[in-house]
């Protein structure tokens, strides 16, 4: 069966050139970058070349890049590292309600450790109001962390405006840019941020490779103590193949970014305009200010996991934010934050296109998606509307 991968926000396939760039460091160039002889020097050169390419993708200096094992690690590092480095100045942190779990749960951990956290609301399109950020800042505030683009609803946040406010108020500003770096132009200078998390597998690089950008002069406490790797800020022998892969992926992303966007966006627009012809289907997230390959919906009267699995049976791979499709069995907090009622959030489905998505893929999708919806609505007791639905909270023991 032909398969169509529309879950690029989960991860991307590895670019063949990236794999080629990684292979020597699994084989003959296995040295430890700290070793002083030839194989070690070669490995160190690979890491530093990758650092240059990674920095160049986001318009940073190489020494401002700290390699991590994932975007989640970078987010943990940013929040904990800045909180602990600045706790003498204050113990207040501002984040939004639509952060990734790696920011949200780190903030909750810090809350338990004596920090105060403000969770800013978003509007119906998922946008954080920069004025709310400004109002939330008090003399205790040491860090603002707002996601750059939401993987669930695609919305791109007004980071430049928030960055301006953070700078004016002298508060350190971090953004989780895992979903955006390599997919849209991201320039740390024009965004005015101090720290930024991103991950290679979101732009055709390998899994297990992420980075935290830390603006020169920003003090941060390490998450992992040990040796002098990454300037003493992240100990542990470097994952040289993964880092080399991240560097190559960053280089390719930089030179192909506009081409990728020009390819993906019209296909995505076609997908959305076709889907919106379906009755009782709603686009979630911002209609324009969104990731170029991102299309997210809630479909009334049916459930997301069922949609996801029937689409998978037809060779189409996608994601859902429904309670049933999550291991935690909770409806997506992001959908609840943009005002989607819980019973509608169950009908969440997310499609994310990539550079391999073709015209034929979208044509097949446009033909298949309405069929799946019709089929599930035929099974649903709510096919004629939400009549008889008790508008109560869920009491099922999970």
């Amino acid at each position: 069966m032909k398969t169509i991968y529309l879950d690029n926000v989960a991860t991307n396939p590895l670019h063949p050139e990236v794999l080629e760039a990684m292979l020597p460091y699994f084989r003959e160039l296995y040295g430890n970058p700290l070793s002083l002889y030839e194989p070690g020097i070669k490995a160190r050169e690979a890491v530093e070349k990758a650092r240059e390419n990674t920095a160049s993708l986001i318009n940073a200096k190489p020494k401002e890049i700290i390699f991590t094992a994932s975007g989640a690690e970078a987010n943990n590092f940013a929040l904990k590292g800045i909180a602990y480095a600045n706790q003498n100045k204050g113990k207040h942190i501002i984040i939004s309600k639509i952060e990734h779990h790696s920011v949200l749960n780190t903030a909750r951990f810090l809350e338990k450790s004596g920090f105060a956290v403000t969770y800013l609301p978003v509007d119906k399109n998922g946008i954080v109001n920069p004025e709310d950020v400004e109002k939330a800042i008090n003399k205790e505030t040491i860090l603002i962390s707002i996601i750059h683009a939401s993987p669930e609803i695609g919305t791109i946040e007004p980071i430049t405006e928030i960055g301006r406010i953070a700078k004016k108020k002298g508060v350190i500003f971090h953004t989780d840019a895992v979903a955006s770096v390599g997919n849209i132009p991201v320039d740390v200078q024009s965004l005015g941020i101090d720290l930024m998390s991103f991950a290679a597998h979101q732009f055709y690089g390998p899994k297990g490779a992420g980075a935290l950008y830390v603006r020169e002069g920003t003090r941060i406490v390490p998450l992992i103590y040990g040796g002098i790797q990454e300037g003493g800020r992240r100990a542990g022998t470097e994952n040289v193949p993964a880092i080399a892969g991240m560097g190559k992926a960053a280089e390719l992303a930089k030179s192909n970014l506009q081409k990728r966007i020009d390819h993906i966006k019209p296909l995505r627009d076609k997908l959305i305009s076709n889907a919106l012809k379906i009755d009782k289907l709603l686009l979630t997230g911002h209609p324009d200010q969104r990731l170029p390959g991102h299309a997210s919906f809630v479909v009334e009267y049916i459930e997301g996991e069922a949609m996801l699995l029937l689409l998978a049976a037809k060779g189409i791979y996608c994601a859902s934010g429904s309670a049933c499709s999550s291991k935690a069995l909770k409806a997506s907090p992001v959908l609840i934050s943009i005002g989607i009622p819980s019973h509608l959030a169950q009908g969440s489905v997310v499609f994310t296109l990539g550079q391999d998505t073709s015209d034929e893929n979208i044509a097949y999708f446009n033909e298949t998606f309405p069929q799946i919806i019709t089929r599930l609505r035929e099974i649903s007791p709510y096919a004629k509307g939400w009549e008889g639905m008790e508008d109560s909270s869920c009491t099922v023991k999970k």
């Binding site: 459930e303 049933c324 007791p381 008790e390 869920c394 009491t395």
Partner: protein, 122 residues
């Protein structure tokens, strides 16, 4: 994640739809939780002669509904009342643990449908 049997009943559900002449109807679940099951049964002389369902929910919920409607056909009411979450899950070659409670509503909906029928007989 799901057994072949679950996938079979989910992708080719049996006994889907309303039943205008049902003499017992049972609804269990809540769309806020993600699963709602509505079971229709037709009973003749204490025997279930037909069963249908409508379900809002995940793959497991749809498979459970399909399975329970298949199982009960031909059963007496007392036999049908012995169907449990566990026996339904077993008939489907198992369900993922996290789906055992929220999506496995077939037995409860069926028992409600039988209670509905019995209350109307009085």
């Amino acid at each position: 994640m799901y057994s072949e049997k679950v996938m079979d009943h989910f992708t080719n559900p049996r006994n889907v739809g309303e039943m205008p002449d049902a003499n017992g109807i049972g609804v269990e679940g809540n769309p806020v939780c993600g699963d709602v099951m509505k079971i229709y049964i037709k009973i003749n002389e204490d025997k279930i002669v037909d069963a249908k369902f409508q379900t809002f929910g995940c793959g497991a919920a749809i498979a459970v509904s399909s399975m329970v409607t298949e199982m009960v056909k031909g059963m007496t009411l007392d036999e049908a009342l012995k169907i449990t979450k566990a026996s339904l899950a077993e008939a489907l070659d198992g369900l993922p643990p996290q789906k055992m409670h929220c999506s496995n509503l077939g037995a409860d909906a069926l028992h409600k449908a039988i209670a509905d029928y019995r209350s109307k007989q009085k």
